[in-house]
Amino acid sequence: MNDGLLAELTAIGRAAGAAPDGEPVLLADRRGALVVRVGDLAVKAHRADKDPGELGARLRAAAHPALRDVLVVPLGEPARVAGRLVSVWPYGAAVSPDDPPWEEAGRILARLHALPADALDPPPPYWGGVGKAARTVGRLPGGPAATEIRRAFATLPGWLRGEAPPPPGTAIIHGDWHLGQLVRPPGQGWRLIDVDDLGWGDPAWDLARAAALFSAGVLPPDEWARFLGAYRAAGGRAVPGSGDPWTTLDIPARTLAIQIAATSVLYALDEGRPLDEFETALVDTCSRITRSEVGP
C-alpha cells in the first residue's frame, strides 16, 4: 500500500470539507484503485492505466443532473495526483451481505437504462468493460480448470474475444454492476457508485453478473426472481417486457460466468488453495457452456 498516496487522498478529502476528526479508513485497494473514507466523504484514486480523457468524460457524465437519482454525485472536479485522477464523493453505507436490497437494485438499474440517448450532453464514451473477460482469461495459468474456462471462452462471439468491433450501444449502462456498487448516502435512497466503466452499451450487461451466478446455481432462484422481477416491473429495457429473458441475457451471462470462473481460479492460485464448492460450480458452468455449443 502507498502511504504517500493515502496521505494525499486524506488531505484532498479534508480540503473538500470532510470533518477534521476521525481517522481515514481504507475502503478498497484493488487492482490499482484506492478508496479512502475521510469522515463523511470517500476519496478515490482511479487506476493509473485508465485513459484520463475517457475517465474524465465518465466522471463528467456522473455529475450530470439527469443521473441525480441514480448515481452518487461527485463533489467538484477531479484532481490529479502523480498522474492519476482523484475524485471525491459523499460516503454512503454499503449493502449488508446478509440482506441485499434486490428490488431496489433492479429498480435503480431500470432507471439508469431508461435515460434517453440525448440525456447526457456530451454523451459518455462506450462502456469500459468489453475486454475484461478476455483480459482475465488471458491471465490464467495451465491446469484442468483453466482449460475448461478457455474452451468455454472460445465459444463466445468474436467481438468479446477482441476479434471484431463491439455492437453499438443502446443505453447508458453502469458497466461493472455488482452489489458492492450500491451505497446509501445519508438522507438518500440507494445510489450506484464507481463510474469507471459507465457509458454506452447493451443494458443486459448490467444484469449479467447476477444472471451468471443464478445460472451457476450460486445465486438462489428467489433472489434472482426478486431482482429480475423488480427490474421488469420498473420497465427495464435490458430484457423483453415478458417471456424469455435469456434472449438478451444469454451472451452477457455466459461471458460473466467465464470471467468469474477465471477470477476464482486466479484468487485460489494466489491464496495457494484448491477451488471451493462455489468456485467449482462456476468452472462446471463453463463446461456446460462448451457442451451447449459444441456438444460433449
Binding site: A94, D98, S215, D222, D244, T285, R288
Partner: protein, 89 residues
Amino acid sequence: MQCPKCRGTMRTYDRNGVHIEQCEMCRGIFLDYGELEALTRMQNQYMQPPPAAPAAPAAPAPGWGAQQQHHHHYGHHRQKSVFHMLFST
C-alpha cells in the same frame, strides 16, 4: 473505526434504512443509541403474519444452467468466495 474485539475494520452497512457498524473480520456489530430500538421495531413488524402471497413461479434458466443449487449464507466466513462473486469485480 476499529473493532474493539478483534481490531478488524468496521464498515457501515444499511439494513432497511438503519445504519449499523459491522466488523469485516469477526462480523461483530456496533449499534449507536436508538439503533437497537429501531431494529427491534422493524423485527416486530416483520413478525406480523404476512398477507398470503402466491408462490413465486420457478425462474427459468438458460439451457446451460445448473441443475443443482449450492446453499450458502453470504455473511458467513465459509462463503467468502460467494461474497467476492456478488460484491466485487
